[in-house]
């Protein structure tokens, strides 16, 4: 009997194996330890395993391997997106360090790591089969994670996410089936042939595929689930979803848009995506204005931020991809930073303290935290000296440069609106608070603080040393 895959294939996915094995190890430790493995132990194992994965993936930089018959393609593109995904995973793990019961920690952490595995798979997926595998692995773990908190809203979030995400997956799968019918192959590379332009199956399939992607990216008009789910899910899971799910889905979209479309079809096929990206900027930022919960607000903010990232891809230029990646990385650190502040502030799962009312008077009570939160919010709005500023100007330059002036104009309008929403939180923090509060004894666990500090440094450093990797080409073969 000959094995279908060689050691080359398995070596390409070695980082994923390590990450998945770490998840197993965490569960195993929990099983052996009586009654439950301490949270700190599970977390340290998970963080260690993730860091090993980060290093292993970093070593793949510059290589170009096509494994599993072209289903898993390792290159700079996959490496960079994988690193952002792992960054988001580390950020979410750090938020778990704020405390909680030992009982559920191992299971949560294991699910989180496996979900990250699915995201890593997506970053390198080059056939529709691998894409679907990755999406399901990512989502299945997330359905459970969303419902973990013992709140009604968490169960509601989990159910909502399950129903809508499955619908999106179904649409995506239908699109993939049609694409298979068009090209007779699951490979994305098979789509990039001129014959496809006249094939109606290809157009329909691509349409369904893109709708599925838009669902997953929570672009308008498929965005309604995102704020509800983000609000209901536990804080670390929300942070994970805003960064990791977005990064993985954008990787898929970029690979599809850049490498899988025949030359004649790409402009016309993708135009609706740019349009809904532009609408998302406005709707997301306007939606933020009415929110009273930080997680919900950041959910709406995420809708708009994805719009900015996609705007950079408009015109599918090489520069655009670099800036989209840059802004994605910047968004990841800004967003994780804001979540880290929320994690330091929130005491337990029962009362998470993400309602904006609990930020009132923070400037007087916890000046450092208030300053950090202000910094991250201004960064999300795009004020200097944060990398959000540089990211926006790069996107503006490349969007306007490829002729999408209207998209650049929408970006400006959206940004102006967003400042109003972000500044609302800042205003609340610095407004005097006359209510009597119990003495704040909470010091916060070290991990969220560490994450906060690192995000802060990264947000400033990326302004002055912009990380704009060059050879980032999405490969399909």
């Amino acid at each position: 009997m000959t094995l279908p895959f060689t050691h080359v294939d398995w070596a390409a996915v070695a980082p994923l194996e390590v990450l998945a094995a770490t998840g197993l190890l965490v569960l195993l430790l929990d099983l052996l330890w009586r009654p439950f493995a301490p949270r700190a132990l599970s977390l340290s194992v998970a963080v260690l395993g993730t860091i090993v994965t980060v290093v292993m993936i970093a070593q793949q930089y510059g290589t170009n391997v096509s494994a599993f018959n072209g289903g898993y393609v390792v290159g700079n593109f996959s490496v960079l997106f994988s690193e952002v995904i792992l960054l988001g995973t580390l950020g979410a793990l750090a938020l778990m360090g704020r405390g909680g019961s030992d009982r559920e920690s191992a299971g949560t952490i294991a699910l989180l790591l496996w979900s990250a595995c699915g995201a890593l798979l997506l970053a390198a997926a080059a056939t529709t089969m691998t894409i679907f595998l990755g999406i399901e692995l990512l989502s299945l773990a997330l359905y459970c994670l969303c419902g973990l908190a013992n709140r009604k809203s968490a169960r509601e979030a989990a159910l909502k996410y399950l129903l809508l995400s499955s619908t999106a997956s179904a649409v995506l799968l239908f699109g993939m089936a049609l694409l298979f019918g068009a090209s007779g192959s699951v490979s994305l590379a098979a789509l990039a042939t001129p014959a496809m332009v006249t094939n109606p199956l290809f157009w329909m399939g691509s349409g369904f595929f893109l709708v599925g992607i838009a669902f997953k990216l929570s672009l308008v008009p498929f965005h309604a689930w995102a704020p509800d789910v983000y609000q209901g899910a536990p804080l670390p899971i929300t942070a994970f979803m805003t960064v990791v799910t977005k990064a993985a889905t954008i990787a898929i979209f970029a690979r599809f848009a850049y490498a899988a479309l025949p030359v004649g079809a790409s402009q016309m096929l993708l135009l609706p995506i740019w349009v809904i990206a532009g609408i998302s900027m406005i709707v997301g930022n306007v939606g933020m204005l009415a929110q009273h919960d930080l997680k919900r607000l950041l959910g709406y903010s995420g809708i708009a931020q994805v719009g900015y990232i996609l705007a950079a891809l408009a015109g599918t230029t090489k520069l655009g991809l670099r800036y989209a990646f840059f802004y994605l990385a910047v968004y990841a650190v800004m967003n994780l930073g804001a979540f880290a502040v929320a994690a330091v502030l929130s005491s337990s799962d029962e009362e998470e303290g993400t309602h904006l009312e609990s930020y009132r008077g923070l400037g007087a009570r916890r000046p450092l935290l208030a300053a950090a939160m202000t910094f991250f919010l201004l960064a999300l709005a795009g004020l200097p000296p944060t990398a959000g500023f540089l990211g926006k100007i790069l996107i503006l330059a490349v969007t306007a440069g490829s002729g999408y002036l209207w998209l650049a104009a929408l970006l400006l309008l959206g940004t102006a609106i967003s400042l109003y929403a972000y500044a609302k939180i800042i205003l609340a923090m610095y407004r005097p608070d006359h209510r009597v509060r119990s003495a704040e004894t909470l010091r916060g666990a070290p991990l969220p603080w560490l994450s906060l500090a690192l995000c802060l440094v990264a947000t400033v450093a990326l302004t002055f040393y912009p990380l704009l990797p060059s050879g980032i080409v999405p490969l399909v073969k």
Binding site: L319, L383, P384, P385, F389, A397, V398, A400, A423, L468
Partner: protein, 474 residues
């Protein structure tokens, strides 16, 4: 040296914000020393050029610092105003205020020494943040902080867009002060208006001025002095070094629009100043009127008008800062700014009344003080350029200025002592020293304006690029 110039106040301000304790003397001393040190550094680094690479794509951008001639005078003005404002701080919680003042100075210094459009845009947005926080914490109403940040950030976004488009079109943003850099193409009007609207919001000019009276009235006097005197000049400085240098054809093409906006600002500001009952608002609207005159001067592109504009930029800064500080002293003593209630300061506090009067006389353009020379040269330039109607509007505004300044100071300084208001001691030494340098500088520039006038006659101040600059532009 240039880097130290920008970083020193920023670092000092951040450190002060992190400290504990509220000892006024210590913080004042630190603040004044830092502000004076930046003054010395600026003089020392006047001919320096410093550059480090930033971006290579989609356009070249560098951290390029250098001091142009107009920028030099603005930096001197800024350092002087900051030193005076810090010295005048008399709050019970001076730490945060002085820290923010230093941050404000640092970010504005960064703006004036930027030789790169992207860096300019960065500092243009950054300098909003300290003022926003002062307004949030000490403003009279949070609404004022909103208005300030929304208007100015929207302007900043247009600047950002214009910068990005400029960079894409021209290939580099490292162009401030580069002689002969002009861009052409169908986009240029859009880029120009992106810049122009951003600058007109900041200046401000009609109809983009509505954030300004609230902001100036709401800010604590020392911060109002720096913002009113120097931050408002960032827009005019931008019109000089970006508008006049990089897009002179566009300014010429749209000069009518700019002149109309400037003229409306001149008249509307003057008339509005006549009817305000809040002393600070009178100064705010007078600022709209005076700066509108400078916008007109820039729009004519007449060399004489530009020279006058450069001088008037500095002079306006000096007397605005002096008057805001003086009105701050009045408010501390009388606990009101209402013109209906204030009177008789001259009898109670003669030294304060004297300082206020000198500032006021500079504002209405008394010969011998710098404001007069600026106005005279600008109006001469406008006449030279052939716009007689505009020159008449300018002259009318000068007459109106006399009316509202006299109304303001008649009301506050003269008259019988108001018995319903508290009687407090006259100017202390500290308060006097905080306001005196501004008045002396007004007098000095009034009789010896040549150096500053010269800085406006060549709107393209430029030291040759050093070899470290990375790129050379055509």
């Amino acid at each position: 040296m240039l880097l130290a110039l920008v970083l020193l106040p920023i670092i000092a301000g951040s450190v002060i914000l992190l400290l504990r304790g509220e000892d006024r003397r210590i913080y004042r001393a630190i603040g004044v020393i830092v502000a004076l040190a930046t003054l010395l550094l600026a003089i020392e680094a006047r001919s320096e050029n410093w550059s480090a690479p930033w971006l290579r794509a989609p356009f070249v951008a560098n951290f390029h610092l250098g001091i142009g001639t107009l920028a030099f005078w603005l930096i001197v003005l800024l350092a002087l105003c900051t030193a005076c404002a810090v010295l005048a701080v008399d709050s019970a919680r001076p730490r945060a205020l002085i820290g923010q003042l230093l941050l404000l100075e640092g970010t504005m210094l960064g703006l004036f020494v930027s030789r790169d459009l992207l860096l300019f845009a960065l500092f243009y947005d950054l300098m909003l943040v300290p003022v926003f926080f002062v307004l949030l914490e000490r403003g009279e109403h949070p609404r004022d902080a909103w208005r300030y940040i929304i208007y100015n950030f929207a302007g900043g976004l247009l600047l950002l867009f214009a910068t990005a488009a400029f960079g894409v079109l021209h290939g580099t943003t490292d162009v401030i002060g580069t002689v002969g850099t002009t861009i052409t193409g169908a986009w240029v009007p859009w880029i120009f208006w992106g810049f122009a609207i951003a600058f007109l919001v900041k200046t401000p000019a009609f109809p983009l001025h509505t954030w300004m009276p609230n902001t100036y009235a709401s800010l604590p006097p020392p911060v109002a002095a720096v913002v009113g005197a120097v931050q408002s000049k960032a827009g005019l400085y931008g019109l000089f070094v970006i508008g006049l240098t990089l897009m002179p054809q566009e300014i010429a093409r749209y000069s009518n629009v700019l002149i109309v906006l400037g003229s409306i600002s001149v008249l509307y500001g003057a008339v509005a100043a006549l009817v305000q009952s809040d002393a600070k608002r009178v100064v705010a609207y007078s600022s709209l009127s005076h700066l509108g005159l400078i916008v007109i001067a820039i729009a004519t592109q007449q060399p004489l008008a530009l020279a006058g504009a450069a001088l008037y930029i500095v002079a306006h800064g000096l007397f605005t800062a002096a008057i805001f500080l003086g009105l701050g002293y009045v408010e501390e003593r009388e606990e009101t700014r209402s013109l209906a209630r204030l009177r008789g300061i001259g009898a109670k506090n003669p030294r304060l009344a004297g300082a206020l009067t000198i500032g006021g006389l500079a504002m209405l353009g008394l010969p011998g003080l710098a404001g007069f020379v600026g106005e005279l040269v600008i109006i001469t330039g406008i006449v030279e350029s052939g716009n007689i109607a505009v020159a008449i509007i300018a002259v009318v505004s000068v007459v109106l200025a006399a009316a509202y300044v006299l109304r303001l100071f008649q009301g506050i300084v003269n008259g019988p002592v108001a018995h319903d208001l508290p009687v407090r001691r006259d100017l202390t030494w500290r308060e006097g020293i905080a306001i005196a340098p501004l008045l002396l500088a007004l007098l000095y520039l009034g009789v010896n304006p040549h150096a500053v006038l010269a800085s406006g006659s060549v709107p393209i101040p430029r030291a040759p690029l050093s070899s470290t600059a990375g790129v050379t532009t055509p």
